[in-house]
């Protein structure tokens, strides 16, 4: 089930941040929203998941108009959404096990044993077996992200959102997280939306990419077309460093 956004507008205090964005986030693919800092990536994502109400336009989840739903109707969709936040957003006072178990406790009728099995399965999937009783403060940044991913997939979501999954991580750990998100997308055939400005991520897992510039959808494509595009803005974003510019010169 894909996510379609149609002509979304969103502003704050008279300033329009998102300007008429339309896009289809495809099922079974890693859909990337990229752009410079302050371009409106996070605001757009918060509009899609309903943390912000759009000023106009619509967000459609699997054919159902999310924007037109009331709170109770949205809840049904929300239980199908898993989200990985920029800072992981793990509950500090809960252990790893309790964090991953939280959505199961709230929205499933599983017995305690079944929930524990599911938690262990999810933790194993993100390669964090036997870390059940540690607290978020005892984990590294990469481990926290993986716990957050385990929590996000606990309820077998149809939609996975990842807000800057690599922020604060070293390049090697970033690739581990990217590959994990990619593998989960394929394994469960879910619609994954990733917000990033990390070009390593784009080149690693960018299957369906939207480039946002000052709140507008400037370009769409995939990781292959992004390196060859003639669009000046995109080129400056992709080849931002002097080294990359020289590399591009040599390649061309």
């Amino acid at each position: 089930m894909s996510i379609i956004v149609n002509n979304i507008h969103k502003g704050f205090s008279g300033t329009e941040i998102i300007k008429d964005i339309s896009f289809e986030f495809e099922k079974g693919k890693t859909n990337l929203i990229i752009g410079q800092s302050g371009s409106g990536k996070s605001v757009l994502t918060k509009c899609i998941v309903g943390l912000y109400e759009v000023d106009s336009g619509e967000v459609i989840y699997g054919g159902e108009n999310f924007s037109a739903m009331n709170k109770a109707e949205r809840k049904k969709i929300r239980t199908q959404i898993g989200m990985l936040f920029q800072g992981s957003a793990l509950f500090d006072s809960y252990s790893v096990e309790e964090n991953v178990m939280f959505p199961l406790t709230m929205f499933s009728d599983m017995s305690k044993e079944e929930m524990l099995d599911r938690v262990n399965f999810c933790l194993k999937r993100v390669e964090l077996e036997n870390k059940n009783h540690l607290y978020p403060s005892e984990l590294s940044g990469g481990m926290q992200k993986r716990v957050a991913i385990a929590r996000a997939i606990a309820l077998n979501p149809n939609y996975l959102f990842c807000d800057e999954p690599n922020s604060g991580l070293d390049p090697k750990t970033s690739i581990v997280i990217d590959n994990l998100i990619y593998d989960l997308t394929k394994e469960y055939d879910i619609t994954t939306v990733i917000i990033t400005h990390d070009m390593n991520s784009v080149m690693e897992i960018g299957e369906n990419i939207m480039y946002i510039h000052e709140g507008e959808n400037w370009w769409t494509g995939d990781k292959h077309s992004i390196v060859t595009t003639d669009n000046k803005e995109i080129s400056e974003f992709v080849y931002a460093s002097e080294f990359m510019k020289q590399l591009r010169g040599k390649l061309s």
């Binding site: 943390l51 936040f85 800072g87 957003a89 509950f91 939280f102 406790t105 709230m106």
Partner: protein
Amino acid sequence: MIGQAFKKPEKWSVLRKNTVLEINSIGISSLSIVALLSLFMGAVMVIQTAANIDSPIIPAYTVGFATRESILLEFSSTMICLILAGKVGSNIASEIGTMRLTEQIDALEVMGVNSINHLVLPKIVAAIFIFPFLVLLSMGLGLIGGGLIGTQTGIITLEKYIMGLQYYFDPFSIWYSLIKTLFFAFFIATIPSYFGYYVNPSGGALEVGRSGTKSVVASSMAILILNLIITYFLLL
């Protein structure tokens, strides 16, 4: 916010579990400060009352009587709740404010959890449940503290002190204090929750600190105003 807080919880078992945790966090952890304050304030009241009564026509048991009235009517409910507004209020505001800052509240909302209900209702229930016990404890310890200092320093004999405590005792004084405490508990739980929940996340740690301060000032003001209103309606 209050409307959202009192909506039907997603799971009653989760509310129960969270309420027990909150009782421990905002109630049990305040036991020592309440006990210490009450013992010392009771002792100070006895000394001050005795020091201000130098007329031979005023009976000695008046010291016990005056201490009882001060502790039961005002100190154990209003003063202790003001202290708790500082201790518990800043704790609640900074806890919820930090959750807002670190996107934990967004995480709850995205999952489909009513975050206000999940975070605030257990605090309200816990405060309303545990604060009356803290106030009763404070009353007992305040009177004991006064008795201890009075008898140990020779200000008053134990018999006279107890006679003063029993003199014209109206049990309604205790009910009056407990009724006030229920209102205070509600505001001590909700006002800081409001300031924490609606903290501006772009303000960072500074804003969380400010929300803590604002919440303590606002809850203290609410307690003082409520104290006046409830006293007017219950005692006049």
